[in-house]
Symmetry: C2
Subunit: 312 residues, 2 copies
């Protein structure tokens, strides 16, 4: 039994991770300011003797006694992280520093959720961990991308200087139940639009690609990485690549939507392609994704139907 | 007359900038923790009614009333910034944030000294400002490179969100009197070695290139950028490119050294080439470098002779 802190544990990914860790019998603390997360994502654990929720911002120093830290706290969808870029950067810089200070003091192991965005608009495809990336330092995505990049730098500096045990996951686009229906990401937008019979909003030509991973695969990967011995960065994602256009067609057909599509302008610096090379994950933590896009969309669409049902 | 804060003002570049600003009749405050700078670099201004020195670390909040902030505080040579990577990152993240907070509160204009290092080991040559760079997020140089990158991101986030007036200079290798003879940079190493009749230590093959700018050109460029209207990033450097080997030959011959050279291992992630495209600086602030390498080395070598004289 470990004492585990999950920052951002009231969010989409974090709450699924909390479920898995609680089911394994660990003591789980959640630190979350509820900026993009929701209390209802963790409501079912409130009152459980192994569970505690701290509603606080990770930019403030935080003191608990733990053996593991999953550091997820950070707005993750482009509309959310761009709404207040300074806040996003403070979260990534001061927040990450605080969690590394905590890990150092407690001699705890820290897993940092970095992102495929550190590869930016990639010029190598698919992206292996050895790729250094192609990121604009001051475009609209920079507050997120550069914040995550320097977060990685901090982790490895604490590893080098203070022997802090770090794990760095570079997460590729992930979807599943509990996604915020209003977060503006392509999965939530398309499914909500399809279920409402509205046209799906394709940004740009729709020829850009993403590779979508179901959340249960990610959670399994994060825990395997945390508990394994490997401590250089590891991609966690599903290499099944789709154009946004193809993805729109899949969603429309699975939701039985006849609303069609509308084209919208392409956002600045929107990456043209993204697909993980997951050879390293397979090799060093024995992990690979299991859930295909078509399988994962079923429970996800069910979840969004529930959201719509409650709205009516 | 402006009220001007120069962080890192006791360092190599900062102290020359302070001289120029004092000579223009401004009120000048220096904030410096003397980590790599020296009090003697600004000693000649101490006691002057327009001058004040604050020995403090920029990671702590700092409150003065100013109209201009030149934010230079940061260790700059690879041995110095790699000696304590966490300290380097804290300086770049918390320090830059504090100075932007100060600029916001005072409605002051802030110039951030970014670096050619944000281009990393460049794949486009020479480097224009539009190039996004090729940087390793967790190599030995990352604490400096990624810290400066996110510093740029912060500047433009404050510009966007709070209308803070920012200027961002990307400075290429600069040399001149007051360089720290022990900072391990190629200019100081080679000149000290040549003057002592020791062999010059070439790292790697010596085929890697740098483009060296004399400090007076830089200071002129920084002031022009600060007082101009242009507020996207601007390269400030001298496009005269040399291989390290050629540079060693120039130094050896100008110092009359017969010590020869020795080869040492190439440091990890050492950029293979570096040369600024300065078209933008010419166009938007009417600046270009004036001092050739051969001209600039004369007073620089004189300075190092003085250092050696004092050592004996
Ligand atoms: N979902 C993806 O596709 C994806 C891809 C790459 C990386 N990631 C990373 O995974 C993590 C979780 O992402 P998600 O999709 O669950 O996003 P999310 O927005 O659902 O979750 C983030 C959580 O962090 C909390 N948070 C934000 N700022 C905070 C702060 N300053 N202090 C405390 N809590 C704060 C939010 O309230 C939320 O609960 C993030 O770090 C994200 O960058 C996610
Ligand atoms: N010299 C170059 O070739 C070059 C190239 C690119 C960028 N730059 C940038 O220009 C600036 C000045 O460089 P330099 O060559 O004069 O280096 P330097 O080391 O001589 O000067 C840096 C100054 O900052 C001070 N400092 C460092 N950390 C501090 C902290 N936490 N709080 C307060 N003061 C602190 C040091 O004491 C020193 O006086 C740096 O920001 C550097 O990154 C220099
Ligand atoms: O249990 C802890 C230990 C540290 N910190 C914070 O983590 C940061 C980095 O800690 P570190 O010990 O590296 O830095 P220092 O305090 O030495 O500057 C500091 O701002 C601390 O306030 C924290 O929030 N919780
Ligand atoms: O309603 C939408 C939302 C997003 N996108 C596109 O879908 C891709 C994935 O966007 P998302 O915001 O989900 O995440 P990203 O991977 O860009 O961070 C990007 O190319 C977006 O431009 C889209 O076409 N329509
Ligand atoms: O004159 C000032 C004003 C602000 N700050 C610091 O600058 C940082 C960023 O300031 P901002 O106002 O953006 O942030 P906030 O205080 O709103 O978090 C804060 O940590 C402040 O302590 C400073 O050092 N001097
Ligand atoms: O004694 C030395 C110091 C540096 N260098 C090389 O000179 C170049 C410039 O190094 P410096 O540390 O001055 O600055 P950088 O531009 O790498 O930040 C790099 O390729 C170094 O490997 C060298 O050959 N001998």
């Amino acid at each position: 039994q470990q004492r585990i802190l999950v920052t951002g544990g009231a969010g989409f990914v974090g709450s699924h991770l909390v479920d898995a860790l609680m089911q394994q019998g660990h003591i789980v603390y959640v630190l979350d300011n509820l900026f993009t997360g929701r209390r209802e994502n963790i409501e079912h654990w409130v009152g459980h003797p192994n569970f505690e929720f701290f509603q606080q911002d990770v930019v403030h120093p935080f003191f608990v006694e733990v053996t593991r830290i999953y550091h997820l706290a950070c707005p993750a969808s482009p509309p959310h992280y761009q709404a207040n870029p300074i806040k996003t950067i403070k979260c990534s810089t001061q927040g990450c520093m605080n969690m590394l200070g905590l890990a150092k003091r407690c001699n705890a192991r820290l897993l940092f959720t970095s992102t495929s965005e550190i590869y930016g608009d990639p010029q190598i495809h698919p992206q292996p961990e050895s790729y250094w990336g192609n990121v604009h330092t001051w475009g609209p995505r920079a507050c997120y991308d550069e914040g995550k990049r320097v977060g990685e730098t901090m982790c490895f500096s604490y590893r080098q200087q203070h022997k802090v045990q770090v794990r760095v996951s570079r997460i590729f686009n992930t979807y599943g139940p509990r996604m915020d229906p209003l977060d503006g990401r392509v999965v939530s937008n398309f499914i909500m639009q399809a279920l409402r019979g509205e046209p799906l909003t394709i940004y740009g030509t729709g020829k850009q690609t993403r590779s979508f991973q179901y959340v249960s695969d990610l959670v399994r990967g994060l825990i395997a990485l945390m508990e394994g011995d490997y401590d250089d960065p590891v991609n966690i994602g599903n290499p099944q690549e789709r154009t946004v256009e193809e993805f729109a067609r899949s969603v429309a057909s699975m939701c039985g939507s006849a609303g069609g599509v509308v084209m919208r302008p392409r956002p600045t610096d929107d990456p043209m392609v993204r697909r993980p090379n997951v050879a390293r994950a397979r090799e060093v933590i024995g992990w690979q994704p299991k859930v295909s896009l078509e399988e994962g969309l079923v429970p996800t669409i069910e979840y969004f139907k529930g959201v719509l049902g409650r709205e009516d």
